[in-house]
């Protein structure tokens, strides 16, 4: 009798290939590892730490730890490379948090709020403006005020979906559709803003 084997996904195959090539000393594979996972790791670490600079540092550390292991002979299950990287990143974030607590160097939130924002730069400001403009247009274009209520209650007031559906007497599928369509439109508005930005740069 044969055992059922789930088919290998593209991701699993690519991960296994990367692990093998890094173990063989292929430098291109190391670059590929970075290209493939760095953006996601930065997102994950930024959410975990709430600090973009710290997230950058921890991402570097994550790759360093991972590469040492991979160069030394790979993983027991190379197909689970993403889970392995995620594990390192989460552990580093937790370790860093513990260190901070021990040293009692948690930033004073009031002082942080008062301090000038050293991280802000013109590019970030532009991006924030684009997001703000896209949100404003999205809200202007929402023809149904109930849809605006749904977005407000879910994303701003962070109310529970079940409660919103019950109070507005709408189905869960309608709720999902409002969110889905709002995101689609928001994406289109952001893309348009980015395109216009690029055109402006070319004109200049």
């Amino acid at each position: 009798m044969t055992e059922a084997v789930s088919p290998q996904t593209d991701e699993q195959a690519a991960a296994a290939d990367l692990v093998t090539r890094i173990a063989r000393g292929d430098p291109a594979a190391e670059t590929e590892l970075w290209n493939r996972y760095s953006r996601g790791l930065l997102f994950l670490l930024r959410r975990r730490t709430g600090d973009p600079d710290l997230a950058e540092d921890l991402r570097q550390d994550t790759f360093q730890v991972a590469l040492e292991k991979l160069r030394a002979g790979g993983l027991d299950d190379p197909q689970k490379l993403a889970a392995y990287l995620r594990g390192i990143a989460v552990n580093l974030a937790i370790g860093n948090h513990r260190k901070r607590v021990r040293r009692n160097t948690e930033p004073d939130s009031d002082k942080v709020a008062e301090a000038p924002d050293e991280h802000s730069n013109p590019q970030e400001e532009a991006s924030r403006d684009e997001v703000g403009e896209a949100v404003k247009r999205l809200l202007d274009e929402l023809g149904v005020s109930r849809d605006r209520d749904i977005l407000r209650r879910y994303y701003v007031d962070e109310e529970d979906k079940v409660r919103i559906c019950a109070e507005l007497d709408i189905s869960a599928t309608h709720f999902n559709r409002v969110l889905f369509r709002a995101k689609q439109r928001f994406r289109a508005l952001l893309l348009r803003a980015e395109r216009e930005d690029k055109l402006e740069l070319v004109d200049k």
């Binding site: 493939r36 953006r39 996601g40 997001v131 703000g132 407000r152 995101k183 439109r185 928001f186």
Partner: protein, 214 residues
């Protein structure tokens, strides 16, 4: 975990709201590390949330309004079901005159099938209608409102038009109801094309959804 599961269970929004179990969270984080499309969804949803919160702080988004009793009644699930059926029956007549089917469908056994556009190559399975019965496909025409909609269903891969209708209007919950005689949708693959226009502009295709009848 795959994109279908992520969409189906609203994993992106639940992740951003810290509503996933520890196990789901670990699985999802490992998934989006290697799936650029899901990561892009995540980044977009985070931006939307941050933008809405900033917009609310600036007064762009008024406080949520609690619906009054009348609104609750007309938006209740019972009313919704009735409205969908009534709407569908109306539309099936307008659409039927363009249909190439000769047999008159049985309006007493409708099947309402909601179809939502999703990113990626997902194909929506539509149950096969019984002989003589009819199927109402409830299709989301998208965010941007147009004055006029028309729709057609083509077979895959022949691209032969098996059904078409014009003068459609989004009705209940802003969906287009497309009534199709069950016999039109024989087992196979099809594509629903939605076209729309505003004012004197010509029709443009705004949505294309692959469906499969098993």
């Amino acid at each position: 975990m795959d994109r279908h599961y992520v969409n189906e269970h609203q994993i992106v929004d639940r992740y951003l709201r810290d509503e996933l179990t520890a196990e789901e969270q670990a699985e999802f984080e490992a998934f989006y590390l290697s799936d650029q499309e899901t990561l892009a969804e995540l980044e977009l949803a985070e931006k939307l949330q941050a933008g809405l919160q900033a917009g609310a702080a600036q007064g762009l988004l008024p406080p949520a309004v609690r619906p009054n009793r009348f609104v609750r009644i007309i938006t209740s699930p019972q009313w919704a079901a009735a409205a969908s059926v009534l709407l569908a029956v109306t539309l099936v007549f307008s659409g039927f005159q363009y249909s190439r089917q000769q047999a008159v469908p049985d309006f007493s056994t409708p099947q309402l099938v909601p179809i939502y556009a999703t990113r990626g190559p997902d194909v929506v399975e539509v149950p096969r209608g019984q002989e003589g019965a009819w199927v109402v496909l409830l299709v989301d025409p998208g965010f941007e409102p147009y004055d006029d909609y028309r729709a057609k269903i083509t077979a895959t891969p022949s691209r032969a038009v098996v059904w078409e209708a014009q003068d459609l209007e989004p009705g209940y919950e802003e969906l287009l109801a497309i009534g199709v005689a069950g016999s039109v949708l024989q087992p196979g693959d099809y594509v629903i094309h939605i076209e729309a226009r505003s004012g004197a502009d010509g029709f443009v295709e705004i949505s294309r959804m692959p469906i499969r009848v098993p």
